[in-house]
C-alpha cells in the first residue's frame, strides 16, 4: 500500500507579525495540518534567496514566506524587499522545472492567527495537488560521490 503524499513545507516567518500570528493561531487552538515547519527570522527582508533554494534542494515540496503587511514592517520597508526577492526567485526557479506556485508569500499581522492558519492550510492543499518535488534525490544523483548514500527504496 502506498502512503498518501504528505507535502513538507518550510515556512519562514517574521518575528514581529507573522510569527506572532502563528503563535496566536496556536494559543487560540486554531488547527492547521502539521506539514509546515516554521523558521523564525527577524524580518521577511532577512530572507536570503539561498534559504529557499536550500529548502527545495534539501527535500521541501513548498516554501512559504510570511511577513508584515505592506507599510507595517518593523524595519520600515524590508518586506517590500522580500516581495521583490520572491517575485524574482519565482522567475528563476520556473525554467529549472520548479513550479513557482511552490513558493508563496503571505502577509499576516500579529492579530491574524485565523488568517495564518487558513493560508497555511490552503498552501498545503496547493502543494499536495502539485505532488512531490523530489529535488533532494535529483541533486544527489548529480553528485556521484553522494549517489552511493542514496537510499535504494526511494524512487527518483
Amino acid at each position: 500500500m502506498t502512503k498518501p503524499f504528505e507535502p513538507m513545507i518550510i515556512g519562514f516567518t517574521c518575528n514581529w507579525c507573522s510569527y506572532r500570528a502563528a503563535d496566536l493561531a496556536g494559543t487560540s487552538r486554531k488547527k492547521y495540518p502539521p506539514n509546515i515547519r516554521l523558521v523564525r527570522m527577524m524580518c521577511s527582508g532577512r530572507l536570503d534567496p539561498v534559504f529557499v533554494l536550500e529548502a527545495f534542494s534539501g527535500g521541501a515540496d513548498g516554501v512559504m514566506i510570511t511577513g508584515c503587511h505592506p507599510g507595517e514592517c518593523h524595519y520600515i520597508e524590508q518586506n517590500f524587499k522580500a516581495l521583490r526577492r520572491v517575485l524574482l526567485l519565482k522567475r528563476t526557479i520556473e525554467p529549472l522545472g520548479i513550479n513557482p506556485q511552490r513558493l508563496k508569500l503571505v502577509w499576516a499581522s500579529a492579530s491574524e492567527g485565523n488568517l495564518f492558519a487558513k493560508e497555511v492550510e490552503t498552501f498545503i492543499g496547493e502543494v499536495r495537488d502539485l505532488g512531490p518535488l523530489n529535488w533532494q534525490k535529483r541533486a544527489m544523483r548529480n553528485d556521484l560521490r553522494l549517489v552511493e548514500s542514496l537510499p535504494e527504496e526511494v524512487p527518483v
Partner: protein, 331 residues
C-alpha cells in the same frame, strides 16, 4: 619523477572548449620556465600521448594535473578517475571543471533535446537522421564511442579535488602566478596552501576590483546592451540598468569586462561565502529595484529576459539545485 629528474605534469580537457589550454599557453615566455621545471607526461592538446601511457604510470607519479572541462560522458569520468589515481595534486582548472560553466547550462534540457538541437536543426544536413550511438557493429567488430550522461557534473562531483582555479578561462596572470608558486614548491622554497583552497583568484568580489563610480542604486528599468546607444563610461553598469553579475562574482580578473564596458557575466564563479551564485544575484538585484508596487515590480522584472540563464550562466552544475528537472526526467 622522470629520468631527467623533472616532476611530471598533465593537463586534460573533458567537456570544455579549449580556451583553458590557450590561457595556459598565453603565459608567454613563462612557459619556458615551466618546461625547464616539468616534464609533460600527458597533455593531449599539446602533444601526442595515449591513455595507455598514463595507465602505465605509477600511482601518484604525476606531480600536478590541471584538469579542465566538466564530466559529460563515461570517457571524461574514466580519465578523471585515472588522472586522480596517478596525480599527487589535482587542480580543477577553469570554470567547467569547477562549476559546469556553459556546458553545464545543458543541465536545463533533456539529452534528447540536446541531440535534437545538434543533429536536427534547419541548418544541419542529416537527412538520414543519424544520432550518436555508444556502440556500433562493424564487420571488424563492435566499436564504442563515449556514452553521454543525462547531466554534466563538475570535477569535484566525480573525484576528490585538491585545488580550485576558477575562470572562463583563468586569467593568464593568475596562471603565471600559480605556475611560479608550484615551481617554488618543487624547489622547496614555498609550501602549498591547504587542500580545498581556491587558487589563482582574489578574495573579494568583482565589484571590489571595479573602478566604475558607484552611487545609490535605484533601478526602474533593466536594459540590454543592444537596447541603448550609449552608456556612461564612468558609472557602475548596474546603476545604468545593465545586469552586471559583479556583486556575486569572485574577484581575480581585475574586473576586465566592466572596465571595458561589458557587464560581468560571472565567469569566476561565486564570491567568498556565496553558497549559491543565482541566489546571490536574486538577492542583489531585488534589493536595488526601486519599487514597492507588485505590478510595477513585475514590469521591471520583465527586463530580465532569462533569469535562470543569466544567474546560472556559469554555475548551474554546482548550484544548490544543480540541474533542471527536465534533464533527469525519464531516467
Amino acid at each position: 619523477m622522470s629520468e631527467n629528474g623533472k616532476p611530471k605534469f598533465a593537463m586534460y580537457w573533458a567537456a570544455s572548449c579549449g580556451g583553458c589550454e590557450i590561457a595556459v599557453l598565453n603565459i608567454h615566455e613563462k612557459i619556458l620556465d615551466f618546461d625547464a621545471n616539468f616534464e609533460v607526461a600527458f597533455w593531449p592538446v599539446a602533444m601526442d600521448a595515449k591513455y595507455k601511457d598514463v595507465e602505465a604510470l605509477e600511482d601518484g607519479e604525476i606531480l600536478l594535473t590541471l584538469f579542465n572541462g566538466g564530466i559529460r560522458n563515461d570517457e571524461n569520468e574514466h580519465i578523471a578517475k585515472l588522472l586522480r589515481q596517478k596525480s599527487q595534486i589535482m587542480v580543477a582548472f577553469g570554470s567547467c571543471a569547477n562549476e559546469g560553466c556553459i556546458p553545464g547550462l545543458a543541465n536545463l534540457s533533456p539529452i534528447e533535446s540536446l541531440f535534437e538541437t545538434v543533429y536536427n536543426t534547419v541548418s544541419t544536413e542529416n537527412e538520414e537522421g543519424i544520432r550518436p550511438q555508444s556502440s556500433y557493429e562493424m564487420p571488424e567488430g563492435t566499436i564504442h564511442i563515449p556514452e553521454m550522461y543525462p547531466v554534466l557534473r563538475t570535477l569535484d562531483q566525480v573525484i576528490d579535488v585538491d585545488y580550485y582555479m576558477p575562470g572562463c578561462p583563468p586569467e593568464s596572470h593568475q596562471v603565471a602566478a600559480v605556475v611560479d608558486l608550484v615551481i617554488s614548491v618543487v624547489k622547496g622554497e614555498a609550501v602549498l596552501p591547504p587542500k580545498g583552497t581556491v587558487i589563482g583568484a582574489g578574495n573579494s568580489t568583482v565589484c571590489d576590483e571595479c573602478e566604475r563610480t558607484r552611487n545609490v542604486k535605484k533601478i526602474k528599468k533593466f536594459v540590454r546592451i543592444q537596447d541603448i546607444e550609449r552608456f556612461d563610461p564612468e558609472i557602475c553598469l548596474l546603476e545604468q540598468g545593465l545586469i552586471c553579475n559583479g556583486p556575486a562574482t569572485l574577484s581575480g580578473c581585475m574586473a576586465k569586462c566592466p572596465t571595458s564596458g561589458a557587464p560581468c557575466v560571472g565567469c569566476y564563479g561565486p564570491g567568498p561565502r556565496v553558497l549559491d551564485y543565482g541566489a546571490r544575484m536574486v538577492a542583489a538585484l531585488a534589493s536595488v529595484i526601486d519599487s514597492r508596487d507588485p505590478v510595477e515590480i513585475e514590469a521591471i522584472l520583465d527586463g530580465i529576459v532569462d533569469p535562470a540563464g543569466t544567474f546560472y550562466k556559469f554555475n548551474l552544475a554546482h548550484s544548490l539545485l544543480k540541474t533542471g528537472k527536465a534533464s533527469w526526467n525519464g531516467n
